[in-house]
C-alpha cells in the first residue's frame, strides 16, 4: 500500500474505535471496550511507524474537496512529512500507553465506554490537526481537540460536590481556547488574503521558492494571529489559566491532552509555519518574551501548590513556556525535541500521579500523602525518574533538551539565559518538593486510607515503566555533538531538516563545545544542589507544606496563583456580567421595549383624545359640520 492510501487509514482506526464504543460501548464488557480503544490507537501507531520509516518526500493525500467557490478552494487532504509523522508517532505512541493506563485507572468508572470514545475521538482530532494538509484542516483538528478536551475535563459532571465545578473548568478551557481559536481563524483569513490559499505546500512554496512575501505589517499580523491561537491551545500568558483548572478531568486525560499532545499543538503550528515566523522577527521577539514570562510565572506558582496535579499542570505551563522561548529563538528542532521528551516525562509524571491518586482512593492533596515510596514501589521509581528527567538530571532526557534551549538562549542574550535558569531552578525545586513530600516522610491521611493504599495493576504500571525508560533514554534522539561525533548526533535535527519545509533553511549556530560544557555544568550544578537541599528540607527534616493560613506573603502569592483568576474576573467577567444586566434590564426591557410601549400608548392615548370629540349632542355635530363647510369655503377663498 502506498503512503497515500495508508494515511487515511491512520485516521480511520481511532474513528472506528470511537464509533463502536460510542454506539455499542454500553453493551460491551469493559475489557473489550478498553482494549478495542487501545488497540485502535496502537494500530494507528504501527501504521504511523510504517509510514515514518518509508517516508522520503512529503506526501499529500486528497480525501475530498470541501469547499470550492471561485476564489476559495479548501480541500480535506492529509499531508505527511517528518514533522507531522513525528508528532503522529508521539500522539499515537504515548496515546496508546495512556489508553492502556486508562483501562486500569478508569475501571471503576461507570462512564468507561464513554471515556474511551472520547479518547479515541481525541486521537482522531489530534491526528487531523497534525496531518491536515492545510491550515483549514489544522483548524478542524484544532477545534476538535478542544471539544474532546471539553468533554473530558467535564467528564465527571455528575460528581456530588464538584460536578458543576468540573463543568465550569471544562467551559473555561473551551472558552479560553476559543479566544485563541478566533486569533487563529483571523490568521487564516489574513493568509487567505495574502496568499489566496491555506495549503502548506503552496504557502511554503510561495514564501521559500517564489519569495512572494506579504509586506511586513501583514506578515506580522499573520504570525501574531497564529501565535494568539497558539497561546490559547498551548496555555501561554495571557490564556494559560484554563490549563490548571483542566486538571478536573481524569488523570489520564491530563497526561494525554494537557501534557503530552494537545497543548503542544501551538508549538506544532509555529514550527509548521516557521518560514512565516522567520520573516517576522518582531513576532519572534514577542513569542520569546511571552514564553519566558509564562515559564517563570508558572514555575513560581507551582512552588506552593498543594494539589499534586496542579503542580504538574503549572509545570506543564512552565515547560511549554520554555519551548516557546526556543521557538522565539528559531530553535524549532530543539522545540520539537523538548516536546518529545516532555511528552515522555510529563506523561510519566501525570500517570504516576494518577497511580498515586488511585492508591490514595482519589485524594490529591500532597499534604495528606507522604511515605508512599515503599507502599507503591513501581510508581515511586518511575515517578522519581520522571522528576529527575524534568529537573534536568544529567543524562536523563530532559537534560539534553533543556540544555539545548538554554544553550540557544545563552547565545541570544545573557539576561534571557539567566531568567531561564531561574525558571529551571524553580522547576527543580517544586518537582523535588513534590517528590519528597509525596513519597518520603510519614503518611498523613487517615488510617482508613492508608489501609487501602496499594500498587496499581499491571495495565497501569506497564505504561509507567515504558515511559520511564523513554524518559531516561529519550535524550539519544538528539544528542549534542560534544559526546559523539558522527551519525549518532542530532538525529532529530537531521530528520526534521530533511523534508520539512523551511526548517532546512534555518541554520542555528550551535554554541561551541566549551560553552556547551560550561552551560551543562551550570545546569547539573543547579539540579544537584536543588536535589540536595530539597532532600534535606523535606526528607531529613520532614517538613510538610504549611496550611494556607500560615503562608508568608510570597508563598500566598504563589499559592493563590498570583491572583490571575481574580484579575480576569475583575477585568472581563464582572464587566461583561454588568453589561449583560444593564443591556437586559435597561436597554432591552426599558429603553427599546419602552419605545415600542410608548408608541402604542401614545396612539391609544391620542385615540382617547380624539374620542372626546364625539359628544353625543346633535348641536355640536351640526356645529362641526358647519365649521367644515366654512373651512371648505375659506380654503377656496384663500386659494382664490
Amino acid at each position: 500500500m502506498s503512503i497515500q492510501q495508508l494515511l487515511p487509514l491512520l485516521l480511520l482506526f481511532p474513528l472506528i474505535g470511537a464509533f463502536i464504543n460510542g454506539t455499542a460501548g454500553k453493551k460491551l464488557p469493559k475489557i473489550v471496550a478498553g482494549s478495542l480503544a487501545t488497540l485502535m490507537t496502537f494500530v494507528s501507531f504501527l501504521i504511523a511507524l510504517t509510514i515514518f520509516l518509508n517516508l522520503d518526500q512529503p506526501v499529500r493525500s486528497l480525501l475530498f474537496t470541501m469547499i470550492d467557490i471561485d476564489s476559495l478552494h479548501l480541500d480535506a487532504a492529509l499531508y505527511a512529512d517528518n514533522l507531522s509523522m513525528w508528532m503522529t508517532l508521539i500522539i499515537t505512541g504515548v496515546g496508546s500507553l495512556i489508553h492502556l493506563f486508562s483501562m486500569g485507572y478508569m475501571s471503576h468508572d461507570k462512564g468507561y465506554y464513554k471515556f474511551f470514545t472520547y479518547l479515541n475521538l481525541f486521537i482522531f482530532s489530534m491526528l487531523i490537526l497534525v496531518l491536515g494538509s492545510n491550515y483549514f484542516m489544522l483548524f478542524f483538528g484544532w477545534e476538535g481537540v478542544g471539544i474532546c478536551s471539553y468533554l473530558l475535563i467535564g467528564f465527571h459532571y455528575d460528581d456530588e460536590q464538584k460536578g458543576l465545578l468540573n463543568g465550569l473548568a471544562a467551559r473555561k478551557a473551551f472558552i479560553m481556547n476559543r479566544i485563541g481559536d478566533l486569533g487563529l481563524l483571523i490568521g487564516l483569513f489574513l493568509m487567505l488574503l495574502s496568499f489566496g490559499t491555506l495549503e502548506y505546500e503552496q504557502v511554503s512554496r510561495m514564501v521559500l521558492v517564489d519569495k512572494i512575501l506579504p509586506n511586513g505589517n501583514m506578515l506580522f499580523a499573520i504570525t501574531i494571529c497564529l501565535f494568539i491561537g497558539a497561546t490559547g491551545k498551548s496555555a501561554q500568558i495571557p490564556l494559560f489559566t484554563w490549563l490548571p483548572d483542566a486538571m478536573a478531568g481524569p488523570t489520564p486525560v491530563s497526561a494525554l491532552i494537557h501534557a503530552a499532545t494537545m497543548v503542544t499543538a501551538g508549538i506544532f503550528l509555529v514550527v509548521r509555519s516557521n518560514y512565516l515566523f522567520h520573516y517576522a522577527p518582531f513576532t519572534r521577539e514577542i513569542i520569546l518574551y511571552i514564553g519566558l514570562a509564562t515559564s517563570i510565572v508558572a514555575a513560581f506558582i507551582a512552588l506552593r501548590q498543594n494539589d499534586i496535579k496542579k503542580v504538574l499542570a503549572y509545570s506543564t505551563v512552565s515547560q511549554l513556556g520554555l519551548i516557546f522561548v526556543a521557538l522565539g529563538l528559531e530553535a524549532y528542532t530543539t522545540a520539537i525535541f523538548h516536546v518529545t521528551t516532555h511528552a515522555f516525562f510529563k506523561a510519566l509524571l501525570f500517570l504516576g500521579s494518577g497511580s498515586v491518586i488511585h492508591a490514595m482512593s482519589g485524594e490529591q492533596d500532597i499534604r495528606k500523602m507522604g511515605g508512599l515510596k515503599d507502599k507503591i514501589r513501581i510508581t515511586h521509581i518511575t515517578f522519581l525518574i520522571g522528576t529527575l528527567a524534568i529537573s534536568g538530571f544529567p543524562l536523563f532526557s530532559g537534560f539534553y533538551s533543556k540544555d539545548e534551549i538554554l544553550g540557544y538562549a545563552f547565545g541570544h542574550s545573557l539576561t534571557i539565559y539567566i531568567l531561564l535558569v531561574i525558571s529551571v531552578t524553580m522547576t527543580a525545586i517544586y518537582m523535588f518538593r513534590l517528590y519528597f513530600v509525596v513519597f518520603h516522610g510519614t503518611f498523613r491521611d487517615s488510617k482508613d486510607v492508608e489501609h487501602h493504599v496499594h500498587e496499581s495493576p499491571l495495565s497501569m504500571t506497564l505504561p509507567l515503566m515504558v515511559l520511564a525508560v523513554l524518559s531516561v533514554i529519550g535524550g539519544v534522539l538528539n544528542l549534542p555533538g560534544i559526546f559523539l561525533h558522527g551519525s549518532g548526533t542530532h538525529f532529530l535535527n537531521n530528520l526534521l531538516n530533511k523534508n520539512v519545509a523551511g526548517l532546512d533553511q534555518i541554520h542555528n549556530v550551535h554554541p561551541d563545545h566549551t560553552t556547551t560544557l560550561i552551560l551543562m555544568g551550570v545546569a547539573v550544578a543547579i539540579c544537584l544542589t536543588t536535589l540536595f537541599i530539597s532532600s534535606i528540607v523535606y526528607k531529613k527534616k520532614g517538613s510538610v507544606p504549611s496550611e494556607d493560613a500560615q503562608l508568608s506573603a510570597w508563598e500566598t502569592f504563589s499559592n493563590k496563583k498570583m491572583y490571575w483568576d481574580e484579575l480576569y474576573d475583575i477585568l472581563f467577567v464582572k464587566p461583561i456580567e454588568w453589561f449583560s444586566k444593564v443591556f437586559y434590564t435597561i436597554v432591552d426591557s426599558f429603553i427599546l421595549s419602552g419605545i415600542i410601549e410608548g408608541v402604542v400608548r401614545t396612539v391609544a392615548f391620542s385615540g382617547d383624545i380624539v374620542r372626546k370629540w364625539q359628544t353625543g349632542k346633535v348641536n355640536s355635530y351640526i356645529l362641526w359640520m358647519v365649521f367644515g363647510i366654512i373651512g371648505f369655503i375659506t380654503y377656496y377663498l384663500i386659494k382664490l
Binding site: 385615540g607 371648505f632 382664490l640
Partner: protein, 459 residues
Amino acid sequence: MIALITLFVTGLITLFVAFTRKPLLVGIIATIGLIGGLFGLMYESRYGIRLFPDYHGLNFDTTAVMFSFICIIFTTLLVWTGFKPLTENENHAGDHIALMIFSLCGALIMTSFTDFFMFFLGLEILSIPVYVLAGMKKSDALSSEASLKYFLTGSFATGILLFGIAWIYGSTGSFDLLEIKNAILNSTHNSSLLYVGVLLVLASFLFKIGAVPYHFWSPDVYAGSPATIMGFMASVVKIAAFAAILRLFTDTFDSISGVWGPLVLGVSVLSMFVGNLSAIKQTRVRRLLAYSSIAHVGYALLAVVTFDSVETTTYHYNVYYYLLAYGLATIILITAENIINDESDDIENWVGIARKNPILGLFIIMAILSLAGVPPMMGFFGKYLIFSQAIYDYPYIVAIALLNSGIGIYYYLKLIVKVLRKPYEAPKFDKLIICSLQWIVLIISGVLLLIGGFLLLLF
C-alpha cells in the same frame, strides 16, 4: 330601468303580502324580487335594451350596473342575515324589508342619475327609509335616538346639498350633468357661485359617506340602529354615495378638481386618523365598526382624488373593488352581531366565539383580517389597488395611509384576540344558534372574501 321597476314593485308587493302575517312568504317574495332585479339589471346591460328610450334621467352605463349589482347583492344578503330580527314583529313583518328595498331603489338611482333631479330624488329615496329603519326598534330609546340624530343631521345635509345645487344651477343654468360639464369647460372664467356650490355639494356627500368632519352621526347611528340596518348603511348607502361621487365629481366636475381635490385629500387623511384612533379604545362592536368605516372611507376617498392619472374605468374599479371587499367583511360581522343578538353590543360578548363555533370564528377572523388589509383577503387587494395608484401623485399620503393601516391592525387584532380566546364561563357555554340563511350569507361572503383576491389574480 327594469331592475329599478322590478325592485319597486317588489317593495310594494312585500308591503301588501305582509298583511298575511307570514314572514316566510314575505322573505321568499323579497328574495325572488331582489334576484329578479339582479337578472333585470344584467339583462338590460347585456342586451343594451332600454325600457324607455326617450327618458334620459337615468343611464345604466357600465359603472352604474356595476355598483347597482353589488347594491342589490348586499341588500339580498342583508335581508337574509337579518331576516329574523327584521320580521320579529309579525304585524310589521314586511315593513322593514320593504323599506330596505325602497331604499335600494334610491341607491340604484344614485348610481345611474344623469341630472340633479334624479340625483336629488334618489338621495332622498335612499335616505328617508333609512331614517325610519334606524328607529326600527320602537321601544328602544337608543334606536329612536339614533333615528332622530340621523334624521336631523341628514335633513340638514339635504339643505346644504340643495343650496349647493341651487348655486351650481345659478352659475351654469342647468341641472343636466352633461350640460353642466360643458358649461364649466366652455366658460373661461367660472364664477365663485359654481365653486361654492360644488363645495357645498361635496360637503353633503362627505356627510353621507361619513367622512371627517361630517362623520359625527355615524358612530351614534351605527351603534343605535339594529345590526342589519347598520350593515345596510355601511354597505349599500355608502356604495351608492360613492357611485354618485364618482359620477358627479370625477366625471362632471373633473375640470375643477384643483378646487375640491385637495379638500378631499385632506378629508381623507383626517378620516383615516380620526377613524382609526377613535376605534382603538372602543368597547362596543358596532361603534368600533363605525369608526373603522370612517377610516375606510378615508382610504376610499384616496381613490377618488387620484382619478386624473388613470383612465376612468380603472379608478371606478378601484373604488368598486374596495367597497365590495369592505361591504362583504361588514356583512359577515353584521351576521355575527345578529347571531350573538345581544342588546348591549358589548365587545366582551365576542369573547370565545371561535371556541363556541369554530367555523363562525373562522369567518369572523377572515372578515376582520380583510378589513385590516392582511393578504390574502380581499381587503388587501382593495388597498393595493387604491394605494398603488395613489402613490403616483401622493406618496406621502400613501405613507400616511399605510401608517394608519398599522394603527388599524391594533384594534382589529384586539377584536381577533377576543374572538379567539377562551370564553369566560368555561367549560360550558351556550351554543350559538345560526340559522341556515345566515350560513348561506356567511359562506357566500366568506368565500368571496377569500378568493376575491386570489381568484382574480388568475384572470
